[in-house]
Amino acid sequence: MPFDATLSTEGQVATITLTGELDAAAAPAFRARIEEAAGASPERLVLMAERLSYMSSAGLRSLVFAKQKMGQAVDIYIVAAQDPVIETIRLTGFDHSVIMQEAYVG
């Protein structure tokens, strides 16, 4: 399934909804949404990942990019991720740096 990332911003919360497969070819589209979100100086970045069916390390690098663009104080939430995506995040220790939730609790 082709990758898609859509951004919505409400107050201090930027939400990006991810769909499809996030590989290195798709990562620039994700990073473009992150940059767009950073423009609103949010305090929190929420990634809705329920329909994200695949994520390579290019996706993980995009999370680092988000911290760089938005500042280290911004909390990154990953919500409703599928099991294999969760496994990749845990295996690489990124679960220590993001907040994983089954459903978004602000």
Partner: protein
């Protein structure tokens, strides 16, 4: 299809993924194993495109071939970019460190090695060859 040859560019990651998915289905891999194999191949193919071909200013092909026997599925990913042995790369630094404070390199190769039962590299006559092997589920 036993062999796929595509240009060594990021747009080729999708057809390579489709090839891997098809081979995994034929081998009867479970969903989790199939996902991990696709991730392993994707990470190495990405490295070949970004660091093998693009960084060296070369163009070339990515060739993936499958070999299926009763016990194992082996995929071989081949390219003609400068020699690069992923297995010689240092593992990523402390994985429990925060996003902000650790270097990001090496994650792709780490995921590759974690994702398959055996990963092997060789350089033969101008070709990098990366072999990914997974055991097939035991016949019922």
């Amino acid at each position: 299809m036993d062999v796929l040859e595509v240009p060594g560019v990021l747009e080729s990651l999708q057809p390579i993924a489709d090839f891997v998915k098809e081979a995994s289905a034929e081998a009867g891999l479970e969903r989790r194993e199939a996902y991990r194999l696709r991730l392993a191949v994707d990470e190495i193919a990405t490295n070949v495109v970004l660091y093998g071909y693009e960084r060296s200013g070369q163009t070339g092909l990515l060739r993936i071939a499958k070999n299926l026997d009763s016990e194992r599925l082996t995929l071989c990913l081949e390219d003609t970019s400068p020699p690069y042995d992923p297995t010689a790369q240092a593992p990523p630094s402390d994985l429990s460190e925060s996003l902000e404070s650790r270097p990001i390199g090496g994650l792709g190769v780490f995921l590759t090695i974690q994702g398959v039962d055996d990963f092997r590299y060789e350089y033969v006559e101008g070709h990098n060859r990366n072999y990914f092997t997974v055991r097939r589920p035991a016949a019922v």
